[in-house]
Amino acid sequence: MQLLIQQILNGVAVGSAYGMFAMSFGLIFATMGILNVAHGAIATLGAIGALLVVESWGFPLIPALLVGIATAIIIGLVTDRLAFQPLRARSNPLGYLITSIGVWIVLISVAETLLDHQIKTFPPDFVSQPRIITSWVYLAPGQFWLIIVGGLSVVGLHLILSRTTIGVQIRAVGYSEVWSRISGVSSSTVVLSTVAISCGLAGVVGILSSIAFDNVAVQLGEGLLLKGFAAVVVGGFGDVRGAFAGGLIIGVTEVLGAQYISGDFRDVITFGLLILFLIFRPQGIFGEVKFGAIK
């Protein structure tokens, strides 16, 4: 029983990371129709940005976090402006995918150069509080923050999208770019804010999970991308709450599967779920919310 609770908590922590990433990845896809394979690299670069200022100038947690988020947002805006913006006039989803492969190659190479082809870690005890140790469970600080920030970000993002003007505009553009423009929505503002929110969140996930899993490496972003993508499919593209729940489901199933079935089959379970959902319920568990693309 104790083991079960511990593993569920571990699963929730991992799942929060997947869920946050899924929200940021899904937001771009739902609003702009870009299936951005470079998004994982943006998370990695956010973590690298934070790591560099910690290593060089000994920044404490919060400023380092802000630097990492800013790095991710800037990279996201620059790639959007240079690579995706020129394609927006023509409607070609294939073009977006290929372009994002190009962006992915560039960002991965930059990340590898910055990391000097090594796997680095944040200094030990960079985040030391709060560590939760009881006779029942153990939760490392990284895990703790993943769960807390994950919960806050899903609530926050949902409130932004449902209650604020910009959120309504983002959803409107996702539904129909033409009709939202007719009603006076500026699609360039929407694109800018979507990219900023999404990449900022990716940066947060990158930093927190590299602290929780104790590595800063290119593989971190790749793992997030694959699992986040699975989470988006399981939870559905239309709603951030769905994407986050998808992440939790994937995280918990994965950890429990590794514990009770076989560690080797960890990924079989994840991607098996992915295929099952794609076939039987491609709109995700939480139903269909129509999404469209800026054309």
């Binding site: 020129p86 023509r90 290929i98 190659i105 560039v106 991965i108 993508f229 080797d264 991607f271 491609p282």
Partner: protein, 294 residues
């Protein structure tokens, strides 16, 4: 020339196989399907061939190629039953998932694949055989292009609804193209494993899949020549750029891909543009005065 060959023979050989990979990706695009799955079929074919080679050493190359193509076709057929039920984006995602799953399967069958340790492969293919195989495949593609099937592929790609309304069975045509991409993928997988002489689960993974599809689109996704040209350009670029860029050649690869998508969206070899240019040339030769008045 000899010096060049000594320095670059390995690159040329890999480029020949890369052309096969991007041809297999092109087959999907030709039927209007963005599919990364041929890499998964290549993976299955390569590990099967490697296993058979360990159990029955000394089989001729032809036997391995046929095994590869059969395994590729069988895997493609089975997965087409599931994958082709999906549409556009979801289909592309599911084919990426197929590649991910293929790696998981390889990792979980250690008695057949050696899991993370991988499997050694004896190389029996020579360079001229690679050239021959690629030429034959190209000939097949070329005759497909002007065939009834080739035209139906064009129709299905451009306007599936219209194609269906003139009596083409879109699903069936896509399925045939999918299985053919499995055949070419299986062939490429076996040859790739021979060139690498040692295959691990990472040998056939998303990066190879991305590069194959990127090469096909870079060369021009509207004609098979594009896939071959794209693969060669993609293989040659890092070598050409090495003196200028050193280790950042990958960055150049990515940048060039983005530039091509932004400025030449139809790729390097575009049949429509070529037709337009040749028509203009022919016109200007035939009646220069008329050309001027236009």
């Amino acid at each position: 020339m000899n010096g060049f060959w000594n320095a670059y023979s390995a690159n040329v050989e890999f480029a020949l196989v890369a052309a096969l990979f991007s041809l297999s990706a092109f087959l999907g695009l030709w039927s209007g399907v963005l599919s990364l799955a041929p890499i998964a079929f290549a993976c299955g074919a390569a590990f099967t061939s490697a296993r058979i080679d360990l159990d029955h050493p000394g089989l001729p190359l032809m036997a391995h190629l046929i095994i590869g193509m059969l395994v590729g076709a069988a895997l493609a057929y089975v997965s087409s039953l599931i994958l082709l039920r999906l549409d556009s984006h979801y289909l592309a995602l599911a084919t990426i998932a197929t590649v991910l799953i293929s790696r998981v399967i390889v990792l979980n069958l250690p008695q057949y694949t050696g899991a993370t340790l991988g499997t050694p492969v004896t190389r029996i293919v020579s360079t001229w055989q690679l050239v021959l195989i690629l030429s034959i495949v190209c000939l097949v593609f070329n005759s497909l292009r002007k065939s009834r099937f080739g035209y139906s592929l064009d129709a299905v790609r451009e306007q599936p609804e219209v194609a269906a309304s003139i009596g083409l069975n879109v699903l069936k045509i896509r399925r045939i193209a999918f299985v053919l991409s499995g055949v070419v993928g299986g062939l490429a997988g076996v040859l790739q494993s021979q060139l690498m002489q040692y295959i691990t689960p990472d040998a056939f993974y998303v990066d190879l899949a991305f590069v194959s599809i990127a090469a096909a689109v870079l060369g021009g996704a509207y004609i098979w020549v594009g896939a071959v040209v794209g693969a060669f350009v993609y293989a040659a670029l890092p070598e050409v750029l090495r003196p200028f860029l050193g280790n950042s050649k990958n960055i150049a690869n990515g940048v060039i891909l983005i530039l091509i998508m932004v400025f030449m969206q139809r790729g390097l070899i575009d049949p429509v543009a070529i037709k337009r240019i040749t028509r203009r040339l022919r016109n200007s030769i035939a009646s220069p005065s008329q050309q001027r008045t236009e």
